[in-house]
């Protein structure tokens, strides 16, 4: 449809409803091609289990903001990071717009464009810790991942959070749900790294939206 170079970074709109950003989203975001069918009925926002406290805009409004070219507000919104992937919106959308896919893909783009740092929601911090653990060890190490997540809040906050959850941690150790000592790793961490590197290479050359 709208032929735009896949590598191109999302353009900044010169004015409201400059369609450059919207067209970039249509072409580069997973499910973006169906986004144009959104008729703003709001079933997605109405079905979303997260309320105003968790998302600064509902999915309906976020889509209109995409059309309006509000790139910074879209990629910097908590909406795309806080989505819990319950798929209520996807199931209920009368126009079969894959809302969750679009939010997820937008979040990936936001990370790539450096918007995630500024947003710093629980989800972005936790995702960071999760990615770190899985990429490094091939699995999640509860102790190190939690520690990384806590320390993303700063030293004092991390100490407080650790102390608050100490009882749970000890119970988990007792029941062998968490272990002390060296983290468990998968056997071929080298191969995993190669896979991840290849994936990154494919992504950067295809520009996502696959």
């Amino acid at each position: 449809m709208n032929v735009i170079s896949p590598q191109a970074a999302p353009p900044q709109a010169s004015s409201k409803y400059d369609l450059g950003f919207a067209r970039w989203v249509y072409a580069n975001v997973e499910g973006g091609a169906k986004m144009s069918l959104c008729m703003q009925c709001g079933v997605c926002s109405g079905s979303c289990p997260l309320g105003d406290a968790e998302m600064d805009h509902g999915p309906r409004k976020l889509f209109m903001m995409v059309r309006a070219g509000m790139k910074d507000a879209v990629l910097g919104s908590t909406t795309i990071f806080n989505c819990t992937s319950c798929y209520n919106c996807v199931v209920r959308c009368p126009r079969e717009v894959p809302v969750q896919y679009i939010l997820q893909s937008l979040a990936t783009k936001a990370v790539a464009e450096g918007y995630a740092e500024a947003v710093k929601t629980d989800n972005t911090r936790f995702s960071g810790a999760f990615n770190w653990s899985t990429a490094k060890f091939g699995r999640t190490d509860e102790r190190l991942m939690t520690a990384k997540y806590y320390f993303s809040f700063g030293l004092i906050a991390a100490m407080k959070m650790s102390m608050a959850n100490l009882k749970i941690a000890l119970s988990m150790i007792k029941r062998k749900r968490m272990h002390l000592g060296a983290p468990h790793r998968i056997k071929g961490t080298g191969e995993l790294r190669a896979i991840l590197a290849k994936a990154a290479e494919i992504e950067s050359s295809a520009g996502g939206g696959s």
């Binding site: 004015s15 008729m39 409004k61 209109m64 309006a68």
Partner: protein, 783 residues
């Protein structure tokens, strides 16, 4: 007393009638009181045996008027149709035994009175003789050579009738341009198709039965359905080059629409920049080639469509034209087809996409059109940086300037061509204007000739009081849209077709499509209400069929819709006519003209047989063969009025056949019980009820009178436009008569009953009976 005809009375005992009332008592009424030569009972009158019995009596010459005392006249009418005899029905089932307790004394009295009324009716009616004098034309005149008019012409021709097609412009086509695109009619509704107009023009021009006259308007239309005399004027008023005349049987008016004057839309930037255009102007560009900016001739890269430009706006057009949303979507698709990178925005308040337009809405979304919901607060030229449309964006929740636009398209609405705007408005007095434009307006005074003076006195008093209350200014006089008449009708009631609302020529959107309030003249297409191509095609076919139907019916002297097939027509006793003009003024269909001596002349095929003239006439000079004031009053007087001491009041209900009477039947069918003190006589329309019927009933000893008609006003349901409204005006005159008779004004009441009111009509009656009980018996009883 029966000296008119041989009356046979047939009493049916079926459907529970025999168990609920004493048929022998009814037989006694027929044979004893009325000396009916034939009176027979049967348990199943509508069965083959029962009908054979009746037709046998008719065949042997014993009976020429069969009074069927059985079910409602609304049912079994085909079963009780006998050649060589008139059928009169007495409603014993729905309005006696189904709505009153069985075996009760009052129920029996009601049944006896039903038989008395029916026999009396039989005495007063004679078989109607149809009016079919002179020659009748089978030709159809179609006015308007656009898509709708040409489709109507083709439909008429295909049905085998000759057509005269008159078009004001020099060529056929109307608002549709060759080279234009229209919405797809077939799945998947994605590919716009070429206009059908080119092929249609060729088809019409090649059709042997259609004679096309372009560059002509209708100078004069006189006569009536079956014999309209139409004079055409070619080449304008200054050079009457030739004035061909045609005689036609029926007329289809398809003068279509014009866009709302964008010059009045300065607040949306029209006129401020050449690149603010209307949808119609954009279509002109698109039909001729690519759409280019008027200012610099360049292709626009960013275009905003502003929907509802001057529509649904009390300052401009108050209504929705239904097609502008779809047309703008089509234009956006056309722009994107020409240049996929064009930024196209459609700014709407409510998007209305009926029919196939909804699929095109999806197609436009897929193609990348951005739909913005919100009210446009302004369109500015933007000082060189492109046009700016400022929207109160409901979806973003903020005031949003939509900048950098190369072109703004205003989707203006449809204005009906109910007049020829190129010609001057004819002069008309207020009486005519009111009848043509305000008949159904609940606020407008109804023109009631003869009453007009004192009516306006009364109205003034009331109005003045109302004005003082509401602090309002002078009431606006009735108006008709500017411009000359399309048909220039040589009618007593003015040259125009009456309008319904917002200037559209129609009679009733839902119940009577295509019917104008001028018989034999049918409106179709956007003249009737805003509509798109597909709807206009259906409308054209509908109006063509109506016209053909009219041609056939009037030839046989049969009434047209809604009393289809009625052979009777009003006969005027000119020897007693006082030239009061009430019949000519009050006729809702302009059936009467006046001769040079001011006497009314009926044009029978224009008449729809409602009897409004009969109800209007103060000297009972107008009657039908089978319907008259005398018939109604005789029927009312045939009822036995019990003595004051019996404490059995009698209340006369004159019930409109169209809604009130069926509602009463349905109440009976549903088992609703109501007072047995009422006596119901069906009337053609409340408009046909003379004020004399009510005063006669009261002087005959009735304790109360109810006039039961249809809903009046804006959402009127009267089949004859203003019957119940007229009854209301006439009723306001009866108060003085009642005063002079020393009677309470509460004794006469009018009620508006819709067909859906069957559950509540019984209570309305009972409440009125309670009021009468309160007032006490009529002192005229027994005189």
């Amino acid at each position: 007393m029966s000296d008119k005809g041989k009356i046979g009375v047939y009493l049916c005992g079926g459907c529970g009638i025999g168990e609920a009332v004493d048929l022998d008592g009814l037989e006694q009424v027929a044979s004893g009181e009325f000396k009916a030569p034939v009176c027979k009972k049967h348990d199943y009158l509508c069965g083959e045996e029962g009908r054979k019995m009746i037709s046998g009596d008719i065949a042997s010459g014993d009976v020429d008027k069969a009074v069927i005392a059985a079910c409602s006249p609304r049912v079994m009418s085909d079963k009780f149709q006998f050649g060589g005899a008139q059928t009169i029905r007495a409603n014993l089932r729905e309005q006696v035994v189904w709505s009153h307790p069985a075996g009760d004394e009052d129920t029996q009295m009601l049944a006896c009175d039903q038989v008395r009324m029916a026999i009396t009716q039989a005495v007063r009616v004679s078989p109607p003789e149809p009016w079919k004098e002179g020659d009748f034309s089978s030709k159809v005149l179609v006015v308007g050579g656009g898509f709708t008019g040409m489709t109507a012409a083709m439909e008429t021709s295909r049905a085998g009738y000759e057509v005269v097609l008159v078009e004001r412009a020099d060529q056929l086509g109307g608002m549709m341009r060759e080279g234009a695109k229209v919405l797809a009619e077939t799945p998947p509704y994605r590919e716009l198709r070429d206009t059908p107009i080119t092929a249609l023009i060729e088809e019409v021009e090649a059709d042997g039965r259609i004679s096309v006259i372009t560059g002509a308007t209708v100078a004069k239309t006189s006569g009536m359905p079956g014999k309209f005399e139409v004079e055409l004027s070619k080449g304008g008023a200054e050079t009457p080059a030739e004035t061909p005349a045609e005689t036609v049987g029926a007329i289809v008016v398809a003068t279509g629409w014009r866009p709302y004057d964008a010059g009045k839309l300065g607040h949306l930037g029209y006129g401020a920049s050449p690149d603010v255009v209307t949808g119609v102007e954009l279509d002109e560009m698109l039909a001729a080639g690519p759409a280019l900016r008027k200012s610099d001739g360049k292709a626009p890269k960013a275009v905003a469509f502003v929907l509802c430009a001057g529509s649904r706006d009390p300052e401009h057009l108050s209504y929705c034209s239904t097609v502008c949303c779809g047309a703008s979507i089509r234009q956006a698709l056309q722009l994107l087809q020409a240049e996929p990178e064009t930024m196209t925005y459609i700014v709407f308040e409510e998007l209305r996409t009926p029919g196939v337009a909804e699929e095109h809405y999806r197609a436009a979304q897929e193609a990348g059109v951005i739909f913005i919901k919100g009210k446009v607060s302004g369109v500015d030229s933007g000082g060189g940086a492109g046009l700016v449309v400022t929207v109160d964006d409901a979806l973003l929740g903020e005031e949003t300037p939509l900048g950098g636009l190369d072109m703004v398209v205003l989707a203006t609405g449809m204005v009906p061509n109910s007049t020829n705007i190129d010609a001057p408005s004819p002069e008309m007095d207020e009486e005519k204007l009111s009848a043509l434009s305000a008949d159904i307006d609940p606020e407008a005074p109804i023109s009631v000739a003869g009453y007009l003076q004192d009516a306006s006195d009364d109205a003034d008093d009331k109005e003045d009081a109302a004005k003082e209350d509401a602090g309002e200014g002078e009431a606006a006089p009735p108006t008709y849209p500017e411009g000359g008449s399309i048909l220039n009708l040589q009618y007593r009631q003015g040259p125009h077709l009456p309008i319904l609302a917002d200037g559209f020529s129609d009679s009733h959107y839902i119940c009577f499509p295509y019917e104008t309030r001028r018989t034999g003249i049918y409106a179709c297409g956007p003249l009737r209400r805003p509509m798109d191509l597909a709807e206009s095609a259906l409308d054209a076919a509908g109006a063509a069929l109506k016209a053909i139907q009219a041609i056939h019916n009037v030839k046989e002297g049969r009434a047209l819709h809604p009393r289809s097939g009625d052979l009777s027509y009003p006969k005027i006793g000119l020897e007693i006519c006082t030239k009061c003009r009430r019949c000519t003024v009050e006729c809702p269909f302009g059936a009467f003209d006046e001769d040079e001596n001011d006497y009314p002349i009926l044009n029978p095929t224009r008449c729809r047989r409602c009897g409004t003239c009969m109800g209007a006439c103060p000297v009972r000079a107008i009657s039908f063969d089978n319907y008259s004031v005398e018939m109604l009053t005789s029927m009312a007087k045939a009822v036995e009025i019990p003595d004051e001491m019996d404490e059995k009041p009698r209340i006369l209900i004159l019930a409109c056949q169209n809604d009130a009477y069926p509602a009463l039947d349905m109440a009976g069918a549903a088992g609703c019980q109501y007072s047995a003190h009422v006596r119901i006589i069906p009337v053609r329309c409340l408009g046909s009820v003379s004020i004399l019927c009510a005063s006669d009933a009261l002087s005959a000893g009735y304790d109360g009178v109810i006039l039961m008609g249809c809903k009046s006003g804006d959402d009127y349901q009267c089949h004859f436009v203003k019957g119940s409204a007229l009854a209301g005006v006439r009723l306001s005159k009866i108060e003085e008569t009642l005063k002079s008779m020393m009677l309470e004004k509460e004794r006469v009441s009018s009620m508006e009953v819709a067909i859906s009111d069957s559950a509540s009509v019984g209570k309305m009656i009972d409440d009125f009976v309670a009021v009468i009980d309160e007032i006490g018996p009529n002192p005229f009883k027994g005189f």
